[in-house]
Every structure is written in structure tokens, then in C-alpha cells.
Symmetry: C2
Subunit: 624 residues, 2 copies
């Protein structure tokens, strides 16, 4: 009955969420997509900071990559333990809440919200980046393509998606497969050419060196490159979904994901160095993504090239899509603790968390538009949230081990402690290195979000105190209400409303606003169809009250009558029965009931606690 039907689909029936039990091979695409797709933008994010070094920049890629991969391995061992300790799912918010207290959990929640918003934004922008590398003529339309994909993903999510394994599996394996083939073929070519391969598709000329190398520059490159790690926490959130033994299967899945990611990162770095690929200026004419240049160098721009680019675009869009599942779910968890408005915890017509999806889409769209859909500009914002969440999660695990003190607790605490330490250091590095470039936005966003959490919580608390009652109901002396029915003519609808009113009260008043030709007819009908039957049944008949309205307005005199009635009977309750015609087609909504809604709205706005409204639905067509 709504225009929304067209776009987001008809309301769907409730059915229990399918609790599919998944194994390692299915787990890799579902929980690994986000982490693996980071390989498509992480290395480039680091490398593009080395542009000012010209062709020399390539030299420093390997040490930076080694540092990032080391960090990845530490985070891996740390999350292996989280999986074991929280088999029901150990997201940063949960772990921080149970082990570090409410304040730390709010920090984790805010960091995670920032992380998810950026996951969506970077996924889309990097995917479009791959596309414009393959089809340079699309470059001027970067922002509008980003917004288009965002709108598409939003609509898909508002309609509700069953996370069908195959949708994730095919592109993920295609992405991993093509990239590993490229790496293997690239290494083979390097060996065959004795370390001096010739790129098949010509590379853009390296830019001139405009800056001397400095530790500061390398640190910034490391900070940006760290975004290659984002998404590795996904498995630890979803342990519950695995087949038994769930913990073992989840850990195996994590191992495989991290292994593939390591191979991809190492392979990409090695080939970039050997081929001498230098990043191109993001957002400028002539831009080409790192992977585009790499695949072009190894295979040329043939079918395989376009297949790989397509799989990158799809995988990155799907990774944005995971944010559309995670963000609303986290909002729901926060709302259930009263830190966000409860609307975030209600599922809408399509069994999805509509509010969370819409809020994410707006924030993500705002970012994409402000930053022109250029990944490189979004990266500084991304790393802060993601690594802050990592740190809090690991720190929470340390507290967890200290509390539970099982066997080997100290070893476990040390592993997580190392994870917390290095990710914490990374947060600080990213903050310092990237503050001016955009990290400050996250620095403002996180405290602001926490402020909102606190204000909302306080509001709910106040309302709770205000409505708390220690007074019993007044069971005696509950007189029936006066029932009032607005009526335009004698119809099946008004008949139903009058019958209902008579069920709940012996004192029924029908009010008719005299605006047209119906009044005389109504009086006659009323005598015949209402007054007489009641008299025949020996009951007090309802009264018909005709109100005049010189300007043909209906709502105002009706409301006035009800308010006057309420004043005249200060001890009585008044029920206004509002008949409503329910039609089946959405556009028919515009024909009817607007007056009913308006009357209800005005009564709520101007009324008092003794005035109640009843919706009396009258359905066109058959109903069970």
C-alpha cells in the first residue's frame, strides 16, 4: 500500500533465520571476502605515498611490506585465541564490553561504526577505481558511479538479502584465483627473463623525483598500507555459524584466509618492485590502479585482464555489502543497550534493519561525495577506526585471560598483549602520520558518536524514571468511555464503526460535519438503519450530532467538538473511532485515509490522556 513496495519489494513473511552450518571452503568467501579484498587497495594505498620519490620509491616497498605482513601475522595469532575464547562470536564491542567495561565498549562501538562506514566507502571507491583503470574514459564520472553503486547496494539491502554462499564464493575464488595466477605467471616471467621482465602493456612513465626519502614518508606509507589488514576480524565475529567443531573450523578458515592474504601481499610487492611499477596520481587523468598496471604488465590487456578487473569490482562491491550487514547489526546491539534510539533494533517490512541501512547509506554517500570517490583520500580515515577496534579487542582479550586464569593463561595473554601493543602503536602511527590528511575526521567522529550514545542513554533513563510506577491500577470505578465516531454518510464502513463503538460503550455519539449534499440523506438513513434497530433491541440508540462548517473543513470542527466534550466531562474517557478503508494497491493509499491520519495526528497533538483513538479497518475484498 505504499510507493516503497515498488522499490524495496512487498513486505515478506517471517521465517526463522536459516542457521546454515558452514565449513572451511564456504567460510573463506563469506568471512574472508572483506580481508582478501583489502589486497586490492592496501598495497596501492602505501605505494601511492611513494610517488614523490619517483622510480626510487619502488626500493622501499619491500621493507614496508615486510612490516605490514609481520603485523598481519601477529594479529592472526591474536584472533586465533579470540575465536577459541568466544565461540559465540567475539566482536570488538562484545569483547570490550565484557572485559573492559562500558566506557571502553562505547569507544569500540564508535570505532567499529567508523570502520564499517569506511569499509563501505572504500570498497565502492576502490572498485570504481579498478573500473576507471580499465576504461579511462569513465574517470570524470567517478563520483556519480560511486553513488550509483551505493544506491544499488542500499536498495538491495533494503529489499533484504539472504547471504547466499554462492554469490560470495564465485567472485571471491575468481578474485583470489586470477590474482594468484597473475602472481605465479609474473614470477615465472621474472625467472625466465633473469630478473628483468618487460611489461606487456606499457606502463605509464614514472614521475620525476620531487622529494627526498625520509622516515616520515616511509612511516606514512606504512600507515596507509596497513589498510590491507582490515577485515581480518570477520571470522571471530561469526564462529557460531561454523559446523562442529566450530572453533577448529573457524580457526582453520582464518588460517587459510591469512595465508592467502600473505601470499597475495608478498607477491604483489615483489612483482611491483621487479617490474618497477610506480603508482599514478589518484583522481587525476591518467590514473590507473596498481593491480591494473600489474596485471597489464604480466598478461597485457586481454580477456584475462578484463576478467580480473571485473572480479575486483565485484569483490570490492560485495565487501562494501558486508558493511551493510554488519553496521545495522552493530547498531541493533548498541540500541538494545539503550545507547542508540530503539528504532535501530526493529526490523522493518522486509525483515531488515531499515534505519541502520539508511543511516549507513547516508554517511557513506556523504563521504564518497566529499572525497570525490577517490580511495586514496579515504584511506587515512579508514585505518584509525579499524585499528582502534583491533586494539580494544586484543586488550579486552588480555583482561579476559587475566580474569579467567586457565592453564597457559599467561602465554595467551602475552600473545593478545603483543597484538594489542602492535595494533595500538599502529593506531598512534596512523593518527600522527595521517592526521592532516583526514584522520582528524575520525578523531572527531568517534567522540561525537560516544557523546550521542551517552545522551541517548540518558534520555531513555529519564523516561524510564518518569514513567516508573509503584501505584496499583484503579480497578474500581472504571466507567465506560464515551465513544465518538466521525461519519460522512451511511455506509458499510460507518455501520462497522458504530457496531464496534456499541460493543465498547453504551454512550455513542456520531458526528457529521455538514459540507455537502449528504446531510439530509444521512438523517433519514440514521433513523432507519441505526436509531430504529437500537430502539427495537430495547437499547439506548447512538446520537447523531451534525456540525456546520461554512468553509467545508472537516478536521477542525471534529477536533473542536471532541475537545469540548472532554472539557465538559472531566472525569470521562473519550474514544474516537476512526474508520479506515484498507485497499490493496499501493497507489490507492493516496485516495483515502489521509483525513483519518490527519485527524489522529491532530487529536494526539492537541488531545489529553483521556482521549483515545481507534483505527477501525474496513477491508476491500475478502479477508480470513
Amino acid at each position: 500500500m505504499n510507493i516503497l513496495d515498488l522499490v524495496v519489494g512487498k513486505p515478506i513473511k517471517t521465517s526463522d533465520e536459516r542457521a546454515e552450518q558452514i565449513g572451511v571452503s564456504k567460510g573463506i568467501p563469506i568471512f574472508g571476502l572483506d580481508a582478501l579484498s583489502s589486497a586490492a587497495y592496501g598495497p596501492e594505498a602505501g605505494l601511492s605515498l611513494l610517488i614523490p620519490l619517483g622510480i626510487l620509491g619502488v626500493r622501499y616497498l619491500i621493507p614496508i611490506s615486510v612490516a605490514i605482513i609481520t603485523l598481519l601475522v601477529i594479529v592472526y595469532f591474536s584472533y586465533r585465541q579470540t575465536i577459541a575464547a568466544y565461540p559465540n562470536g567475539g566482536g570488538s564491542y562484545t569483547v570490550a564490553r565484557f572485559n573492559l567495561g562500558a566506557r571502553a565498549s562505547l569507544l569500540a562501538a564508535a570505532a567499529l561504526l567508523a570502520d564499517y562506514i569506511l569499509t563501505a566507502a572504500v570498497g565502492i571507491s576502490a572498485g570504481v577505481g579498478a573500473l576507471v583503470s580499465a576504461v579511462p574514459s569513465l574517470l570524470p564520472h567517478t563520483t556519480s558511479m560511486c553513488v550509483g553503486i551505493l544506491i544499488l547496494i542500499t536498495i538491495i539491502n533494503l529489499r533484504g538479502v539472504r547471504e547466499a554462499g554462492v554469490v560470495f564464493a564465485v567472485p571471491t575464488y575468481l578474485f583470489v584465483g586470477t590474482l594468484l595466477i597473475t602472481i605465479a605467471a609474473g614470477i615465472l616471467r621474472v625467472l625466465l627473463s633473469h630478473g628483468h621482465p618487460t611489461p606487456i602493456a606499457a606502463l605509464p612513465p614514472p614521475p620525476p623525483m620531487t622529494e627526498a626519502v625520509s622516515y616520515w614518508l616511509l612511516l606514512k606509507a606504512f600507515a596507509s598500507g596497513c589498510t590491507a589488514l582490515t577485515g581480518v576480524e570477520a571470522v571471530s565475529n561469526g564462529v557460531k555459524a561454523f559446523r562442529k567443531p566450530a572453533v577448529k573450523n573457524a580457526q582453520r578458515t582464518l588460517t587459510v584466509i591469512i595465508f592467502i592474504l600473505t601470499v597475495m601481499l608478498a607477491g604483489i610487492s615483489y612483482l611491483v618492485k621487479v617490474y618497477g611499477i610506480v603508482a599514478t596520481d589518484p583522481g587525476q587523468p591518467g590514473y590507473q590502479s596498481l593491480l591494473s598496471m600489474l596485471i597489464g604488465s604480466v598478461f597485457g590487456k586481454g580477456v584475462f585482464y578484463y576478467l580480473t578487473i571485473a572480479s575486483i569490482l565485484i569483490v570490492l562491491s560485495l565487501s562494501a555489502n558486508t558493511a551493510f550487514a554488519d553496521f545495522p547489526r552493530l547498531c541493533r546491539a548498541i540500541a538494545q543497550n539503550d545507547y542508540l534510539p530503539h528504532v535501530f533494533s526493529y526490523r522493518g517490512r522486509r525483515l531488515v534493519y531499515t534505519y541502520g541501512i539508511v543511516v549507513l547509506a547516508l554517511l557513506c554517500g556523504g563521504l564518497l561525495i566529499s572525497f570525490g570517490g577517490v580511495t586514496d583520500r579515504l584511506i587515512p580515515l579508514y585505518a584509525v577506526g579499524a585499528f582502534l577496534a583491533f586494539t580494544l579487542s586484543q586488550a579486552g582479550m588480555v583482561a579476559h585471560w587475566r580474569k579467567h586464569r586457565g592453564p597457559h593463561w599467561l602465554k595467551s595473554a602475552l600473545v593478545n598483549g603483543l597484538g594489542a601493543f602492535v595494533t595500538g602503536i599502529t593506531v598512534i602511527v596512523v593518527l600522527v602520520a595521517k592526521f592532516v590528511e583526514g584522520a582528524w575526521i575520525t578523531v572527531i567522529f568517534i567522540p561525537f558518536t560516544i557523546f550521542i550514545f551517552i545522551v541517548v542513554r540518558r534520555h531513555y533513563h529519564n523516561i524510564k524514571v518518569l514513567t516508573t510506577s509503584r501505584v496499583p491500577v484503579r480497578a474500581k470505578l472504571l466507567s465506560p468511555p464515551i465513544a465518538v465516531i466521525p461519519i460522512d454518510r451511511w455506509s458499510k464502513i460507518s455501520c462497522q464503526a458504530i457496531e464496534f463503538a456499541s460493543r465498547i460503550s453504551p454512550q455513542v455519539i456520531a458526528i457529521h460535519v455538514e459540507i455537502g449534499e449528504y446531510s439530509e440523506l444521512l438523517r433519514a438513513d440514521w433513523d432507519r438503519y441505526v436509531d430504529q434497530p437500537f430502539r427495537d433491541a430495547g437499547k439506548e440508540p447512538p446520537k447523531l450530532k451534525v456540525l456546520s462548517s461554512p468553509y467545508r473543513f472537516v478536521i477542525i470542527p471534529t477536533v473542536q467538538f471532541i475537545l469540548d466534550l472532554s472539557k465538559k466531562h472531566p472525569s470521562r474517557t473519550i474514544v474516537v473511532v476512526i474508520p479506515e478503508l484498507i485497499e490493496s494497491k499501493w497507489y490507492e493509499y493516496f485516495f483515502h485515509n489521509q483525513r483519518a491520519r490527519l485527524l489522529e495526528w491532530v487529536l494526539i497533538a492537541k488531545g489529553n490522556e483521556r482521549i483515545f483513538t481507534v483505527n477501525a479497518p474496513w477491508y476491500i475484498g475478502e479477508r480470513s
Copy 2:
């Protein structure tokens, strides 16, 4: 309680519309603004068609102007009679409806709607045209300025405006005054220079002659120039508003308006000819409006010039504003005859016809954007609607005189007949001359609108037949309903709801969905605050039914329980009492009641005619 409050203001109280009685001097700005402002674009619309003739085009201006002024005089006498015959207001729709029947009235209605949409669009575009003439650097922003002014006017009208006389009077008299001074000064200069005045501000060089003169071209120029007549019908719609003797005062007002308009049109034409002003290409760099060139020629571009341009911009914007009063009012009249959805006849929170205003804004915005805010491209659409309405109104008057056959009826019928004839001819001329340039849009719009009228009318008719009843109410055997109350915890809100439910039914069931820590507490509270008091009063206590919900969803189990209950008791009525917390600040709306609304919505969508919902409002703060 709504974000709308910020933009369109808080709901306002009802008060009767002020029935101010106006005289001639106040009537001129209020009813004349629209007609007089036509002088700002009508002559230019004609002249810009003569651009291909180069400097020679000026020669043909005078005969075209004479034709237009003759038409104006005929229309004047025709409308004088309409005023006398319909002292309660004789708009085209009314006159056609009473005299030519329902079909012709629909044609008139559709033509008028087109007319109002174009009045708004042309008013805005011509105003912006004056502005960019004075400040040429604004030219590239024409469309966005048009949309900006449209949004401003829309918001002002959604907030509701009392048509304060002074707001109209000052700019109208300023506009008329400055223009008449310009004309007088121009004629003086012509006399002093013996017919060869030198423009003070240099005129743009006349374009080369690219076309030979043809009757076809002159006909097109006449058709466009006719838009100078739009708006003259306004007085006849508003006779009621005049001081007694209303008809005399209205006629005098019309006389003055037409006299001023004639002087302005004649003066502009004469000076344009003598100064040899040639129109510039609209929408192209170097564009300058006709009046801008004229005033510049006479006075140079000093303070007086900018004052006049400012008054033109304001007067044209106000003329667009009159469409925002007329369009919704006409929609209301049409909706009251069931030809448009009834929503058009409801006044919203600010006592304005919100739907009509929004629809006008959307249509007008669509036109302004499609045509790039260029008046010259909108003109062809404008003349068709306006002159079709003229014709139907005059033809209706002929039928009126024939029916009433008073003294001199034949003379009156002849005057109106001449009016109908010449305006009818003009419609055909405009249609033929301007079909390709845009008149076809109006030709599609009018039948399409009539089609909508008919479909809507049929829909309402069908619903009326479907709901018509010749069956009396069942006065006997009306058993009380089963009352169901969703309850989360014991609070003042649930107490109020239970008391209300007990007033209307002896059988009350409270349902509680177990999702959190409240359940045990609620059971204890229930025994103490509900069960015991009812037993003490010797009444059957309400039942508490606890439903489990593993996924912490509330709506679904509640609805399921109610549907099951309805199935179990096929002869009983069920009332669902939905407590609602009413707060006073708009943003607090997001905190509460979304669940209540959702429950109500799902119950209506999935429910049946025996399931009713009650809104039980609980107000924070004091209420009378």
C-alpha cells in the same frame, strides 16, 4: 514533533480567514500584480522572435503591439461582464462548470492548472532573466537560481502566508512607477532629440538579418506576445473580496489595471522602436532583457536602473507566488468534486493545502530544469493554457446570458462572444505557430490531466458503490471485544492502558514478550499492582501472557498471538491497545513509538475486520 517543524514552522492554530474588504487602490496590487508583471516578459517574448530580421524587426513591432492591445481591450470588456454576472467569483472552472457542463469544466480545469504551473515557472525565469541582465556574470547559474527561488517560494507557502497587502503594494507600485517614469522620460528624450535619441548605456550591436520577413514569423511573434495578457482574469475570481459595492469596485480596479497595462505595453513598444532595440538571444552569453536595455537606454545603468530591475525581480517572484495560492485552491475545488484525490482538499498543519503546493513545486521545478530556466522557451507552453481558459470562460458567459435572458442579454452575449472568438482564434494561432517549440507539451498535458480526473472520479465512485449499505446495524448481540495490551514493564503508561482496556472490556489480556531482564520483575509487579487490586474489587483480573522470543523480536510474536486469538474466537472482536509516549520536542520522535507505529501497521496489513487498534497516548508534562 517532527523535523518539518524546523523548515515549515510549528502547526498553527485555526482562526477564521480574515475577510478583509478591499477597495480599488488595494485591489490593484493584489489582483493586478499578475497581469501588470506580464509587461515584463510579454513584449520581449514577441520581440525575440523578430531577432532573425535583425534591425529591421523593429519595424514590425508596432502592428503586432496594436493587435495585442486590441485583443486586451476586447478581453477587458468581456471580463467586466463576468464580474457583474458572478459577484461571488467567476473563475473559468466555475463559469464553465455552471454553463458548459462537466466536460468543458474539466477542460477548463486542466487548462488553468497548466496556466498556473507556467505562471510560476515564467514568473521565476523572467525575474532571474532581469537579474542576469543586470549582473551578467550570474548567467551560467540561471537554472540553479531559478530552482533556489522556487524552493524559497515553496517553503514560504508551506509555512503559510497571510496575503499582506503591503507586501504586494510596495513592489507593484514601485514596478509600475519606475516603468511609467522610464516611458515618460523616454518619450521626453525622443521629443527633445527630434525623434533620434541616443541610448545612454550602449546597446548590444543588432544581429545580422538571417531571414526574410514572413506572415508566419509575424504570427509567431503575435502568439508569443499574447502572454502579455496573462493574469487579467484575476479580478473576476476575487470579486467577493471587494468593499461594497463590490461589483463596481472590482470593475473599476479592472479598468485601472488594464489602462496601466495598455500604457505600459504601448510605451514599451514605441520606445523600443524609436531606440531601435533588438532582442538578444535568450540563454546565450550577452543576453540582456528587453526592459534592461530600455531602461539602460533612457537612464543609463545607475541607481534608478538597479532599483527598477530589483522591482521587476520582486514583482515577478510575487507573481509566481500567486500561482502558489491559486493552484492549490483550484485543486481543492476539483478534489471536492471527486476529480482529484481528496488529499488536495485537506489543509495541513499550517492551514495550507500542502499537497497542492508540493505538486505545483515539483511540476514547476521540472519545467524550469528541463528548459534551463529560459523564459523564451517556456512562453510557447504558457499561452496555450492561459488562452484556452480565457476562451472557455468567455464561451461559458455566452451560455450564461442565453440561459438568463435579462434585458440587453444579446448585447452582453455579443461582447463575451467576441471575447471567446478572438481568444479562441488566439489559442489556435498559438497552437499552430508554437506547436514544435513546446505547445505540444501543453497539448499532451491537458488530455492527460483530464484522463487522471476521470480515473480518480471513477475510483471514488466504485468505492462508494462498494461501501454503500442498505442494511441496518446489528443492535442486538453486540458482545464486548477481547482487549489485548502489549506491555514491556509495569509503568504509568501500562497502568493507563490497562485501566482503559478494563473500561471497554471485561476480558483483558496483557502480552509480554520476554526479551530481557524485565520478565521476572513484571510478574511480581503484575501480581501486586494489577491482579490483587482487581481481586480486591471483586472483578475478574486481566491475564498476563508471557511470550518467548529467542531472537529478541517483539512485533512478530505479538502479531502472531493476536492473529491466533482472532482465529480461535471467530465471532469475537479484538481490540489491541497500543500505548504511546508523546513527547514535546520533535527530535524525541525518533526515540519512541516507532514500535507502536510498526505494530499498528503490521496489524492493519495482516489483520482482519475484527481486529481494531487503539492509540493510548501518555503525555510527558502537564495537559489540560
